[in-house]
């Protein structure tokens, strides 16, 4: 089991570059430790706007408005947040949105907290039932190509896509007293 570590984690930087290249402008998020480095990059960026949400479904609706206004976005959330989005994901099909979400996984690969497991175990199935294609990256060296493929099919082909970033990639959260 990996411990969470910030060292040698260049994949968030690679994701940031991909988002820049695809001219992503709005980045709604509910914070997750696995997304912390990317969120910091977004908040420090002049071309992207990080938008803190109170619940993940807000991000789905925000991206619908952004698309209507001519901007691309990406929703950053944790696996538990996918459950909060279910009805709002209707908008993705109804508007044929170029929807992209990057989901950091909990409830798998050495999880300590059982409360994360029910949603983490069903994240992929729920997204697929909602009509969203699911890709997954589990190793640092595959993040770039998986996120790039996800962004390309979402933005170029209006194919709604979720990229799951495995807990194996991020490292299981260590709970200490």
């Amino acid at each position: 089991m990996h411990a969470r570590t910030d060292t040698a984690a260049s994949w968030p930087e690679e994701i940031f570059s991909i988002l820049q290249r695809f001219e992503v402008r709005q980045v709604p998020y509910v914070p997750d430790a696995g997304h912390s480095e990317l969120i910091e990059r977004v908040l420090g960026s002049s071309s992207m706007r990080g938008i803190a949400l109170t619940t993940e479904e807000e991000g789905v609706a925000l991206l619908a408005g952004a698309w209507a206004g001519g901007q691309r976005g990406v929703l950053l959330m944790q696996s538990s947040g996918v459950g909060n989005c279910i009805n709002m994901l209707s908008l993705v099909q109804i508007f044929r949105l170029p929807f992209l979400t990057l989901v950091t996984m909990r409830g798998e690969w050495g999880e300590f907290n059982p409360w994360q497991v029910p949603m983490g175990s069903n994240t992929q199935g729920i997204l697929e039932l909602a009509g969203i294609k699911v890709l997954r990256a589990s190793r640092p060296d595959e993040v770039r190509e998986v996120v790039e493929a996800g962004a390309a099919q979402a933005y170029n082909a209006c194919t709604p896509t979720a990229v799951l970033l495995s807990q194996r990639l991020i490292g299981a959260k260590v709970f200490t007293k």
């Binding site: 938008i51 807000e58 991000g59 408005g65 206004g69 508007f95 170029p98």
Partner: protein, 196 residues
């Protein structure tokens, strides 16, 4: 159901959009979408038939993408109650061109008129203000509606929030398009975006 001194919802929306210029209008699912349709179809009308609780966030995404154009979200109390957190999200972003108005009949009109929380102690103006939307007001006269309609054209002083207590009578439905892709692509077309 009808009480004296309550505003007529169609008159309110018609006044809000009478001299809209380039404004986008986002309607919450249900009666507010019919009200916007009744005021006249427009290529910048963002009609919602679902996604309950999402109207304000759609308005925010649009407002951030098009900061020089006014965006007005016109929704109902039930829809607003479901997305109350989005008022905190809006306040954090402070979009200067976004206005939100709730047509508050204190009931879920579309499902049989069950009493909503605003018919009880919930105060949406208080919620908006407490979330950090400084310009939050209750509206009870057509003169106040007119003032709100002209203020929403000012894209330097938002966000602003208003709640208007309206007559609860169910009016004839005026049905807008229900084709989401058409609605969104028409809005995109109106600001010069071509289909993919």
């Amino acid at each position: 159901m009808s009480k004296a001194n309550l505003l007529d919802r169609r008159a309110v929306v018609s006044e809000l959009l009478r001299d809209r210029k380039g404004a986008f209008a986002v309607g919450g699912l249900g009666a507010s979408t019919y009200d916007i349709a009744a005021a006249g179809d427009h290529d910048r009308n963002f009609y919602l038939w679902g996604g309950m609780g999402g109207a304000v966030m759609i308005g925010l995404g649009l407002a951030l993408a098009q900061p020089t154009l006014p965006v007005v979200v016109i929704t109902g109390d039930g829809e607003m109650l479901m997305g109350m957190g989005s008022l905190a999200t809006v306040a954090l972003q402070q979009p200067k061109n976004l206005s939100i108005i709730v047509l508050d009949n204190e009931a879920y009109g579309e499902t049989g008129g069950q009493t909503s929380h605003t018919g009880g102690p919930a105060d949406l103006v208080g919620v908006a203000k407490a979330c950090g939307i400084g310009d939050s007001r209750a509206i009870s006269t057509m003169a106040e509606v007119e003032a709100f309609a002209s203020s929403l054209q000012d894209v330097t002083a938002g966000p602003r929030f208003a709640s208007a207590k309206i007559d609860g009578a169910n009016l004839e439905r005026v049905l807008s398009s229900r084709d989401g892709t058409y609605i969104v692509n028409r809005i995109r077309g109106s600001i010069g975006h071509t289909p993919i």
